[in-house]
Symmetry: C2
Subunit: 209 residues, 2 copies
């Protein structure tokens, strides 16, 4: 396929390099196509890789990958010309500049609400990201299901992790209680996958290498 990649950062050039190797035709749409640094970075991803303006790259493509930093995304799309009927793959994330959270779409969590309803309690968010079938048996052929947990009290988190281990889970610390804003959507993802046809015998695992 002819793929336009908007943005030539780590994500864009890595995906572009992989697709070039897989036989796709890749062009990078960037603000300044003649910039020497961009040209070098793009060339390193494959002999045939080239740069163009965002509009030119998009015009000749079957698929557009948006791989810009979030703050540059609106402007990049505005400079792309019409995108009507185009296949647009969006791999951006609306991150806060300090990477402490998402700058868009999130306001609070059930975990924080529970802490508000239980004044002084050492609250840990845990056992919310999978079904009870996996709580009965968290062992899968590839390994144990991961149990993410978060909270603001180190001692309480140790207890929570041990109780997850007792059931056979692989416990993983996901940070402070505000990370419930990440774990509750993960629960919703599990539920929607289960409902949408995958069934309940699915579980998340955090792999390491």
């Amino acid at each position: 396929m002819r793929i336009a990649i908007v943005g030539a950062g780590n994500v864009g050039t890595t995906l572009g390099g992989g697709w070039a190797k897989a036989g796709h035709q890749v062009v990078y749409g960037v603000r300044n196509p003649t910039d020497a640094g961009v040209a070098r970075r793009v060339a390193s991803t494959g002999a045939a890789a080239r740069t163009a303006t965002v509009a030119d790259a998009v015009a000749g493509s079957e698929v557009v990958l948006v791989a810009t930093p979030w703050t540059a995304t609106q402007e990049a799309l505005a400079s792309a010309g019409s995108l009507a009927d185009r296949i647009v793959l969006d791999c951006t994330n609306p991150l806060k500049p300090d990477l402490t959270g998402l700058s868009l779409g999130q306001t609070t969590s059930g975990g924080e609400q529970v802490a508000g309803w239980a004044p002084g309690a050492r609250v840990v968010k845990i056992f919310n990201t999978t079904g009870f079938n996996n709580m009965a048996n968290p062992r899968y052929p590839e390994g144990a299901a991961t149990m993410f947990y978060c909270g603001d009290d180190a001692g309480a988190k140790q207890v929570a992790a041990a109780l997850a281990s007792d059931l056979g889970f692989d416990p993983v610390d996901a940070g402070p209680l505000t990370s419930a804003r990440l774990l509750e959507p993960l629960a919703m993802l599990w539920i929607s996958l289960a409902i949408r046809g995958q069934g309940r015998e699915i579980a998340f695992r955090l792999m390491r290498r």
Copy 2:
């Protein structure tokens, strides 16, 4: 440990049963401890299991598991007595009654915003939930990293999934574009785990059995 489980539904009784087997002492705090149905369900999780009022169960415990439906959570905590300094494990999720999303904390997503900036485009949210190191090589000892994607155009999603497969990912359909509200927090989880000491050589896999 002495564990009070508030709520005797599927999640509460499964966790309670597992912990009883692991040697912990489990008591269920419920609205009506003498209810025959509750007593039967609780008895099925282990010989020593018993029920009590929420306040009594909590009073004698070292750890409190909150395993209520979201809409019953505030009332259950209010009936628990003081929870100050207690270890509280929160496994609730603020789900909408029809399970289409979270009722709390979420308003929109970058993916939906991108679709708004690209009128008519067939937007797929994809390649946002992992680092570029995994895009260069998504293969782990246990299997391929999962690449979740979502969008409202079936054809565009097929193309996106094929492009993920070309790189070695295991593509998994996460539903409509509004599921970007789930995939962007998943990205934030990956980032925060990587920053918080796990490093970048980690990846999510959806296991099946």
